[in-house]
């Protein structure tokens, strides 16, 4: 199985968000909110840093 860069980053964001939400929050509602928040932050960072690198390279 060969993943594209985006697919790899997507899976990375998903799994890290799941584990971080499980291990840091105490209720299921908090876990869900924090997991979604982390995941969105990861994806925003993927696109933001990706575009910054593209523009930086000219």
């Amino acid at each position: 199985m060969t993943l594209s860069h985006f697919e790899a980053a997507f899976l990375f964001a998903l799994f890290v968000s799941v584990v971080m939400s499980i291990t840091t929050k105490k209720s299921n509602k908090e876990r869900l909110n924090y997991g979604v928040y982390c995941f969105v932050c990861f994806i925003v960072a993927v696109f933001g840093i990706g575009w910054a690198m593209k523009l930086g390279h000219g």
Binding site: H5, F12, V19, I22, K26
Partner: protein, 130 residues
């Protein structure tokens, strides 16, 4: 009689090792197993799925892994899957290329996430967390 103004820090009684060593060891060996032992099935399943997706591989032997990869300890934290994959030869020489680099980072991350899972299992076992 003077009233003592000093307050003794309320120390929680020490938690016996026997109450948490099992779940923590299980959490190290198989991701999610610590939570299963503590009857936290849902969280255990999620952690196990994450552990299964990050299939560990490393160098041809433990020493080479230690020298080649700073992430050896992190790989080792993945537990039985790392040990078994190395033991049964499901590893390959270090190859150049972005896909292999993703894999290396994933494996290191998997080990570090498993450390978080072990800490979580420990806290549940000692009653600090539900």
């Amino acid at each position: 009689m003077a009233v003592s103004t000093t307050t003794q820090a309320e120390k929680a009684p020490p938690v016996p090792v026997a109450s948490w060593i099992g779940p923590v060891a299980a959490a190290w060996l198989v991701p999610g197993a610590g939570h299963f032992l503590l009857k936290k099935t849902g969280r255990g399943m999620l952690l196990f799925m994450r552990g299964t997706m990050f299939k560990p591989e490393a160098g041809p032997d433990y020493l080479t892994s230690l020298i080649n990869y700073g992430g050896f300890v992190s790989n080792l934290a993945s537990g039985a899957m790392y040990l078994l994959s190395t033991m049964f030869g499901y590893n390959q020489p270090d190859l150049p290329g972005p896909v292999h680099d993703y894999g290396t980072k994933f494996l290191v991350t998997a080990g570090l996430l498993n450390v978080l899972a072990m800490v979580d299992a420990y806290e549940i076992a000692i009653g600090k967390k539900d």
